[in-house]
Symmetry: C2
Subunit: 119 residues, 2 copies
DNA sequence: ACCACCTGTCAAGAAGAGTTGACACGTCCC
DNA sequence: GGGACGTGTCAACTCTTCTTGACAGGTGGT
């Protein structure tokens, strides 16, 4: 098994931020903060379609902001309940800078810049 | 003085989050946290084109994360310097929930859900 | 005049996120 | 067998964001 990268790396923070930067997903967090809920009911209460909510939930879960668990109700129906994860992120210039340091993707090393600026 | 809307309203936080949820913009914040810089040089150092950087900077400025000021150098050239704003945002389920409360856009209050369905 | 540097904006294409409807499966009750 | 409810997934479409190249302007120096 490949080791997990649990540290708050740039990619992780990026995933969290892009997961949170959406009105629908913010409202989903708000709804789940009040009470845990299952998909169909949450879709009814928030007024969004099931496929749409499903996609948003799986985006939030991928970012580690909510957790879903499949449970069986008394009448044998399988319902997936979602809870908010107790996350806490502090956003400051230093935080962002530290995360950006671990984002070396596609950025080539500047071997030698042509500093011939006349000025 | 007129009261500013400094509170983390939903739209404001949404703008901040979507501004931060981008690898290029994260790297711009990181670069400006080290030292203030002007557009062309920043474009050179980050390896992005001027129009692209210009767009990202104006997105960051619109979110209040950086501030730009047009200054004149010794040789009379007009250069726009950018600084990071000393922002600080705390992201928790409660924070998001509070912000989502002020996001009542298009979401009608569920007057009564006794549509034809049972239950 | 040219060339260096700085600033900004525009249209248009490429890429990705959001959204919908219809489909698949399951259990339980009448 | 219907219907109610629950789950998930798929291909298409729309929409926003991203990205590029070419263009506009400016100053100062050789």
């Amino acid at each position: 098994m490949p080791e997990e990268d649990t540290s708050s790396t740039g990619e992780q923070l990026l995933k969290v931020l892009s997961a949170l930067s959406n009105p629908h997903r913010m409202r989903i967090i708000a709804a789940l903060a009040v009470e845990r809920n299952y998909v169909s009911r949450l879709a009814r209460e928030t007024g969004m379609s099931r496929p749409l909510l499903h996609m948003h939930l799986q985006r939030l879960e991928a970012a580690g902001l909510v957790t879903g668990s499949l449970e069986l109700s008394d009448d044998g129906k399988a319902m997936k309940f979602f809870d908010v994860a107790p996350f806490i992120y502090e956003l400051t210039p230093q935080t962002i800078a530290a995360a950006a340091e671990t984002l070396r993707q596609g950025r080539q090393e500047a071997h030698s810049e042509l500093e011939g600026r006349g000025q």
